[in-house]
Symmetry: C2
Amino acid sequence: MEPYVPKRRGLMLVLSSPSGAGKTTISRRLLERDSNLSMSVSVTTRPKRPGEVQGRDYHFIDLGRFEELRAKRELLESAKVFDHYYGTPRAPVEQALEAGKDVLFDIDWQGTQQLAATARADLVAVFVLPPSTAELERRLHTRAQDSAKVVAGRMARAADEMSHWREYDYIVINRDLDDSVAAVQAILIAERYRRDRQIGLHEFVKGLREGQ
Amino acid sequence: MEPYVPKRRGLMLVLSSPSGAGKTTISRRLLERDSNLSMSVSVTTRPKRPGEVQGRDYHFIDLGRFEELRAKRELLESAKVFDHYYGTPRAPVEQALEAGKDVLFDIDWQGTQQLAATARADLVAVFVLPPSTAELERRLHTRAQDSAKVVAGRMARAADEMSHWREYDYIVINRDLDDSVAAVQAILIAERYRRDRQIGLHEFVKGLREGQ
């Protein structure tokens, strides 16, 4: 019997949180540590900003192309933010999962709901919470000149995002960045060992039992 | 707002495997690494062997006491192996879980089914498989004087145990001991972050959203 090399379908790791909870830093650290994980690259109709790279930060496309992708159901999720559209192309994600690669999504509760509607079995949904309101306010008060009104608006959006915590599988309260990265990494590793994600176990156990 | 100290209910980590797959070594290593995890101590009616310690290896009890415990439903699971009875007392496990401590169970598929019948929500069930039949046979051939018939009997029992792999949440194929210990440890850590195991999240998020 050949040495068994476990095969598995990749998973979709979703990290959601209110802005200011540390999700972006956790995502970056995870990607640095885990070579089997890559970030999903979204399409967007907004203009490229200085320093952004086509195909790395986003696939920058025009509205006509966006509407075509959406009409053909080639987007796993999509959203309009202010005047621009964003979406996750289906094909590269499906290719990664089939190759046993995991894909990281930095999306909000609405994107997560859309992914869950079509791909619940592949989804591992993690919600990151700030440790306290004081800490959240501190992180949302990004510039000295931010007015109380601007910060209050950000807090309101954060409160709205946080109201969806129950829709997630795991909850990580980000008190310490290293601990939170370790927690999400443990979740990623553990989920890879779920029975349902491993391919060929039936034949493997059959071989073991029959003494092949 | 006080710094948030997450509270959680402990979990019951079950490791099952055919003998010879490495489960006992994995259990020992896990217990050494994780101070929040302790082994469930079973009751048994079999006599104490040299070197065994009452209350550490087993609670050695007589048949009358065993039947009393079982009649009062104070055993989470029980089994007869050869001429002796074994069982898991409910009270210490429940106390540990309520205190946020995790409990490790080294039991077979029948014990796991009994635990699942009364405590599925607290259960995290991991099945450890050997990497190949050759490796399993090698490990089951523990003494040079073992006859082919003795080894064949062990293989048959292993095959029976392995037929229940589908009843487990996670499957770990023990090709490399360090990797397998790391895998089970990641499963233990990840499961602690499951939404359902964390206590008081509703009030915590309410406080965050209302800016307390």
